[in-house]
């Protein structure tokens, strides 16, 4: 049986002065994922290892972490695909470490909540469903795939120097509602994403897009959001483009 070495950045702020790397030798088998490896360590080598997981199928967003150079979901990253005898794992950046790979997601959720992440329709609901054409619905394709894993937030270098920056996921969520023919809170939500910590802080670095496990065009969506805000507020001639 072949094996790989996991090098995990460990840190418990309650007991450790500073983070340190620990190594674990883990036997591998076909189809094994990084998450399987972390469970092997927790069950057989060190029960104190802390990390989140739930669906193990890349859809719940629990297990985003930095694996061999980039942010990925541990559950859908097969060890063989990394093509390396060493698996280096560390927690997401820009979020306080609570223990090992387990970070405090509250700052992420605060920003998510800030943009009023729910449908705000302009009318009373119809007796049946609101109608939406297939073309209108197509505007929501991909953008609704976001699982709020936080990989984009962790990868965004703007978050390095602006803790208050809303970040890619919250801005994408805002654009999700701007794109929905049923939503009417355009002005209200534009106010929420405006300002120096809002949409203008995005420097179009594309990190978010590169790491997104759902391959969503996040940077592009933010660019559309900026453009629509310019059109809506300062340059009506740009509207409808």
């Amino acid at each position: 049986m072949s094996e790989v070495t996991f090098k995990i950045l460990r840190y418990d702020p309650k007991t450790d002065k500073k983070p340190h790397v620990e190594q674990f030798k883990v036997p591998t088998k076909s189809g094994m994922t990084v998450l399987d490896g972390l469970y092997y360590i927790q069950e057989h080598l060190d029960g104190s290892l802390a990390f989140r997981s739930s669906c193990r199928a890349g859809v719940c967003g629990s297990c985003a972490m930095h694996i061999n150079g980039t942010y990925r979901l541990a559950c859908e990253t097969q060890i063989s695909a990394l093509n390396s005898a060493t698996i280096k794992v560390r927690p997401m950046a820009h979020l306080p470490v609570m223990k090992d790979l387990f970070v405090d997601m509250d700052p992420f959720w605060e920003k998510f909540k800030h943009i009023k992440p729910y449908l705000i329709p302009g009318d009373e609901p119809a007796e049946k469903e609101r109608l939406q054409t297939t073309d209108e619905r197509a505007h929501l394709d991909r953008i609704i795939d976001c699982i709020l894993c936080g990989a984009c937030f962790a990868s965004c270098t703007v978050n390095n120097y602006d803790e208050e920056y809303l970040g890619p996921a919250a801005l994408l969520k805002a654009q999700r509602f701007f794109s929905d023919s049923r939503d009417a809170a355009i002005e209200e939500r534009m106010d929420l994403v405006d300002g120096e910590h809002g949409v203008w802080r995005c420097h179009t670095i594309f990190n978010c897009q590169e790491v997104c496990p759902k391959e969503i065009d996040i940077t592009g969506s933010i660019a559309v959001l900026k453009r629509n805000m310019v059109a809506n507020r300062w340059s009506p001639s740009l509207k409808k483009q």
């Binding site: 104190s48 890349g58 223990k99 909540k113 329709p121 609704i144």
Partner: protein, 575 residues
């Protein structure tokens, strides 16, 4: 000690829907979830949600009565018929309400909610958002919760995530609250309440081969069971026909609803060779397809004696990308197969527990103040076999019903019993002692017990069951139950201790596995998902009854209760 009028345990579809209903009625509610609500297993549901909207030309004549009949027939007549009718009568308004709240359903050419065919119905009834219906429903319900957390015109709603309910506070047969382990801080606390609603989901992780999330363990059902609430019909387990070989990740029934084929190693659509699936073929109900797939594999017509092929290639690239992008992505990531180019390797896998916490049509259990909704509960609307598309429906219909009836219970003055404050301190101290006691065990690694439990259930309590193997399974599980008393944990403290968390979950799994396999051995007939090779037919004279399991220290004590047959006469189930 915290206080909320009602505590909802679980942040999946049923829990959030119940919380919204309570909030609408201005009842102060707290949702306690062991994971962030968006990480709940509901998010994995793919194919869709049934409602007789009649939006598809082939289903324009649909009605709640037709939907209820299909549900009852699919249940092999073990569903309670009035409860099934309530499910289907409320379905259109609950699904449309989700649309009003923002669910991006896929649409028909005239802009209505699109519907696709699913098993057990003769025409398209299943509303969907490509193959990510659970994802969009859960995100939308969470969004509504965020909205009303902040809304001043309504009562208080709080979500406590990463807090784990480990026990109930029950005094003189009345539920007064829950014991909560704050996973992030390590504190043990009590939440006092007038009513508790459990919406903790299914128990797929009793098995190894399951579509369920890692968090879907038996603990959520075991806690009320230990507290005196009976478990109903737990022997009935749905095996989903198409789960990905290797990981058992779900490949939606929608793949067959959209026209996908199941093929054996001779490239044949083998479902044509079996009487019970020759007409409906790939959209026959799940129990039938899973059995015929298992026969095919057992008789040597599978691949590597393990799996069959789900072939979507003839649907074409465009349809796969539009209707089934999620499972394409999963197949590519986990088995390196692009369904546009090649068939997907699939095998039946544990998917759903039809049984669960016994409740009536209002979501109330036999313990005043204790309610359940969603997969952890059992009304029963699914009987011996659930139709695809009815589980998410049950979460929002019966989530709302349980929320409404708990609200009414509270507004009417609750149980009327004022508990002595001492019971809360006692409950907390008992729980602290129990958890700390788990650190002083013997030398058993819980991971070994977990592996042995899973393989036992995979082999002894699977699609085909018979007395000898069930008895072997029972012996093994009783052995594991004893060994569990000697587990050792190698991580100390209560803060962020996954070692302890998984050990607690394992305790719940062992308890519920015992209820399941003993119930399966006790029921000497074949009905819906339970197929006994030694009793291959349905026996209405003896077994048209619900199984009730009550906790006792040496294993479950079984009773029976009546099935509501007030609308349709049981008939042979033919498709």
């Amino acid at each position: 000690m915290r206080y909320h009028q009602v505590v909802v345990v679980g942040g999946g579809l049923a829990g959030l829907r119940a919380a919204l209903e309570l909030n609408k009625r201005n009842v102060k509610v707290a949702v306690v979830s062991k994971v962030h609500p968006l990480r709940s297993h509901s998010v994995e549901a793919q194919g869709g949600i049934n409602a007789s909207l009649g939006n598809h030309p082939r289903g324009s004549h649909d009605s709640p009565e037709l939907h209820a009949f299909d549900t009852v027939k699919g249940s092999d007549y073990l569903a309670d018929q009035k409860a099934a009718l309530r499910l289907t009568e409320d379905a259109p308004k609950r699904v449309r309400e989700m649309e009003h709240w923002g669910v991006p359903f896929s649409r028909t050419p005239d802009g209505k909610i699109a519907q696709r065919p699913f098993g057990g119905a003769g025409f398209p009834r299943t509303c969907f958002a490509s193959d990510k219906t659970g994802h969009v429903l859960l995100h939308t319900l969470f969004e509504q919760c965020v909205k009303y957390e902040q809304a001043s015109e309504r009562g208080e709603m709080v979500i406590y995530d990463e807090q784990i309910v480990t026990g109930l506070v029950v005094d003189e047969g009345v539920c007064h609250g829950v014991i909560v382990w704050n996973f992030q801080t390590g504190e043990i606390d009590v939440i006092k309440s007038e009513a508790v609603i459990f919406a903790t989901g299914g128990a797929g992780r009793i098995f190894g081969k399951t579509t369920n999330a890692l968090v879907s363990t038996g603990l959520g059902m075991a806690i009320p069971y230990w507290g005196g609430v009976p478990i109903k019909d737990f022997e009935f387990v749905q095996f989903h026909p198409t789960t990905l070989f290797g990981t058992n990740i779900l490949m939606t029934e929608g793949a067959r609803g959209e026209g996908g084929f199941l093929l054996n190693n001779e490239g044949e659509r083998f479902l044509a060779n079996y009487d019970d699936s020759s007409k409906a073929m790939e959209v026959a109900p799940r129990d039938i397809v899973a059995r015929n797939m298992t026969r095919e594999i057992d008789e040597g017509r599978g691949f590597e004696d393990e799996y069959l092929h789900l072939d979507l290639r003839h649907l074409g690239r465009e349809k796969i990308l539009e209707r089934l992008p999620g499972i394409r992505d999963l197949a590519m990531k986990f088995v390196h197969v692009d369904p546009i180019e090649a068939p997907i390797p699939v095998q039946p896998g544990m998917h759903y527990t039809m049984g669960g916490i016994d409740t009536d049509e209002t979501g109330a259990s036999r313990v005043p103040g204790f309610y359940a909704a969603g997969e952890c509960g059992c009304v029963s609307v699914h009987g011996a076999n659930r139709l695809g598309g009815n589980s998410m429906l049950e979460t929002i219909v019966y989530g709302a019903i349980a929320g409404d009836s708990a609200a009414q219970f509270v507004l009417d003055g609750g149980s009327g019993k004022v508990p002595d404050e001492k019971i809360f301190d006692d409950a907390k101290n008992r729980e602290l002692a129990r958890l700390e006691g788990m650190f002083n065990g013997g030398n058993e690694n819980p991971a070994d017990i977990k592996d042995e439990l899973e393989s036992t259930m995979n082999r002894k309590c699977w699609v085909f069951r018979e007395e000898n193997t069930l008895q072997e399974g029972i012996e093994k599980i009783e052995e594991l139950r004893e060994r569990y008393k000697n587990i050792t944990l190698n991580s100390s403290g209560l803060r962020l201790n996954f070692d302890l968390l998984w050990a607690l979950e394992l305790g719940g799994n062992l308890t519920m596995a015992e209820v399941m396999i003993k119930g399966a051995a006790r029921r000497k007939e074949s009905r819906g998902s339970q197929f006994r090779t030694d009793y291959p037919t349905r026996d209405d004279a003896k077994w048209l009854e619900h199984t009730l399991a009550y906790y006792a220290q040496d294993g479950p004590r079984f009773e029976a209760s009546d099935v509501d047959l007030s609308i349709w006469e049981p008939k042979e189930r033919k498709y």
